[in-house]
């Protein structure tokens, strides 16, 4: 992908060219180019081991790239790592809070390290705990927090001094749906205050919900890049699913759909259901009209863009699920 275009005029938070990182013989990151405008959310989507975390660690100055160069908020990653560190913050994949300390002590620690006085540090810690709904757990050790609380504390620690660019590595992996929504709300609040967010995720709906642009990463390379709409459009116009009132009418319905849509119609294991890949969005409505005109009654139908799961499957030739097992390896 050498043809990434900056789609608007905003200055870039991240501009990287040809980043490579090798671990032994394996090229964990194999030539990644990035242009991320300030004030946007950018998503890295890919299975474990794809190179997402490694790329993020390089951009956050934790790993030295073997090849390539990058500018973060205008500072050279290689020659001005300290200037970069002043502008960015990292919330790692495995919660990087100190589990032995309480919530408030964790935040005071970071605030003191950022130069706050004892009194101001305490005040700032209290403010953040309150904003992130952790005020009641302030004095409890972080190891006694739930996964969602720990995540929020972790992000709060990254926000003690609001960074211009926040790296969020798999912010909701392993969280329940409610905690996930809370994290999403925090990310949205963050972006509204001007912070650029770079997040990695294995969840397609997360990238879909939060990210302005998405890079699909596999084997250390960006294999597709764009808005979620663009990515979906790149694999076709979606799928029509139909479920009939009477399974006996399915053969007739199959023929009608094949004629109107002009593509093969798939019969699913449900004897009343069938589906077809659409070449154009309007063919879906035409197909439904044809069924109606022939008195075939439809009990359910759905017409939609392909899910990002389907996008991922098409792009990589493998489903996302088979990589879900966590092995703690660098991804």
């Amino acid at each position: 992908m050498n043809n990434i275009i900056n789609h608007d005029d905003r200055p870039l938070a991240v501009h990287a060219e040809g980043l490579v990182k090798r671990f032994g013989k394996q090229r964990a990151v194999d030539g990644i180019d990035l242009s991320i405008p300030q004030g946007t959310v950018y998503g890295f989507l890919g299975p474990n081991g794809a190179g997402k975390t490694t790329t993020m660690k390089m951009l956050a100055t934790l790993l030295k790239p073997d090849e390539g160069q990058a500018h973060i908020m205008g500072h050279d990653l290689l020659t001005e790592p300290n200037a970069v560190r002043r502008r960015v913050s990292l919330t790692g994949q495995f919660a990087s809070v100190d589990e032995d300390l309480s919530g408030i002590e964790n935040l005071i620690l970071i605030a003191r390290l950022m130069g706050y006085s004892r009194k101001d540090a305490k005040e700032r810690a209290g403010e953040l705990l309150d904003a992130f709904g952790l005020e009641e757990a302030a004095g409890r050790q972080a190891k006694k927090y739930s996964g969602g609380m720990r995540r929020r504390l972790d992000i709060a620690a990254s926000m003690v001094v609001r960074p211009d660019l926040l790296f969020l590595d798999e912010p909701t992996t392993g969280l329940d749906p409610r905690s996930r929504n809370q994290i999403w709300a925090i990310v949205r609040a963050l972006v509204s205050t001007g912070t650029t967010v770079l997040l990695t995720t294995q969840y397609l709906d997360e990238a879909d919900q939060l990210a302005d642009r998405i890079a699909v990463i596999d084997h250390g390379k960006i294999i597709a890049e764009g808005t979620s709409g663009e990515l979906k459009a790149s694999v076709g116009s979606g799928v029509l699913h139909v479920r009939l009132q009477d399974p006996a009418t399915r053969a007739k319905a199959q023929k009608l759909l094949a004629d109107t849509i002009g593509a093969p119609v798939h019969l699913s294991s449900d004897p009343a259901a069938l589906s077809a890949q659409l070449t154009a969005q309007k063919k879906g409505t035409q197909a439904l009209a044809a069924l109606d005109a022939n008195n075939i009654e439809v009990s359910e139908f759905s017409l939609g863009q392909p899910s990002l799961d389907e996008v991922f499957l098409t792009l990589t030739g493998k489903p996302t699920e088979n990589d879900v097992q966590k092995d703690g390896a660098k991804s």
Binding site: N82, R85, R86, D98, L101, S158, M159, R162, A185, L190
Partner: protein, 273 residues
């Protein structure tokens, strides 16, 4: 509070605050020392190695072997206390490596490494906190010794000077264990390797017995063992007859340890993957 109000509250906490001035290296190191000491509040058991063990060792050696080794337990105490002090503190240095390894495996250090601070400060802070632990251990051993009948001829000053030279050496020795802590995968491995290293150098020394009765080959080792040299220096300081050669030797060894292992530690720390 509804979702919208909550959103406003979050935004208010997140909007640009005035950024405080960048703190210096000493300040951040002390903050890290504060962090390490806070942990004692939650896990007081971690003080066992600097409280229970030295007490146990002192009592055991004094009453089991004291009479046989030096004629009487009170005579042996004068010989043993400076040595047991060295042994206690030297053993405690292992925990520096163990706790560093723990921190790294938990990901806590990833955050520290991405902060705009003087990069050795997490390590220096941890070592400062460890020095506090060494001091606690020293006070306990000396207090116990005084109760049992240890009467140092060097007086308060001699004892304090003895403790100081142990602290200097241990602080320097700790840098070896930070290297071990960074190189190995698990804290158990760090513990295992470090203990394997420390057992022979503390026991094959002049801490417990006068090497005069040892076979020649062992004696040769005991005489050049840094722990023996340190013990001799401490004994003489506490006995009121400072041995300059040994003191100089310990200070030189400490400097060399820091010059070699501190940069090595920082190199490993910066490039840890």
């Amino acid at each position: 509070m509804n979702a919208e109000q909550h959103m406003e509250k979050m935004k208010a906490a997140l909007v640009e605050h005035e950024r405080p001035a960048k703190p210096g290296g000493i300040s951040t190191s002390l903050t890290f020392a504060w962090r390490a000491l806070l942990k004692i509040k939650y896990v007081p058991e971690q003080l066992l190695d600097v409280t229970f063990f030295p007490v146990m060792f002192t009592l055991m050696f004094t009453y089991l072997f004291g009479g046989a080794l030096a004629g009487s337990t009170s005579a042996y105490l004068q010989f043993l206390i400076p040595g047991i002090l060295v042994q206690t503190v030297v053993f405690t240095t292992v925990y520096t490596g163990v706790s560093l390894n723990d921190d790294i495996s938990k990901g806590t250090f990833d955050r520290f490494r991405s902060l705009p601070i003087w990069s050795p400060s997490p390590l220096v802070g941890a070592l400062i906190a460890d020095t506090v632990r060494y001091t606690i251990a020293s006070i306990i051993v000396i207090a116990l010794g005084l109760i049992l009948g240890f009467r140092p001829l060097g007086g308060t000053l001699g004892v304090i000077a003895g403790i100081l030279i142990i602290l200097i050496f241990s602080f320097s020795l700790s840098w070896i264990f930070t290297v071990v802590g960074l190189l190995l995968q698990t804290s158990k491995a760090v513990m295992g390797i470090s203990m394997t290293l420390l057992f022979p150098i503390t026991f094959a020394s002049n801490i417990f017995v006068d090497p005069a009765t040892m076979p020649g080959w062992l004696r040769a080792f005991v005489d050049i063992n840094p722990v023996s040299v340190l013990t001799t220096a401490v004994r003489h300081l506490m006995g009121g007859r400072p041995a300059l050669a040994e003191i100089l030797w310990v200070l030189t060894a400490s400097t060399v340890l820091i010059l070699v292992f501190a940069p090595l530690t920082m190199h490993l720390y910066r490039n840890k993957q």
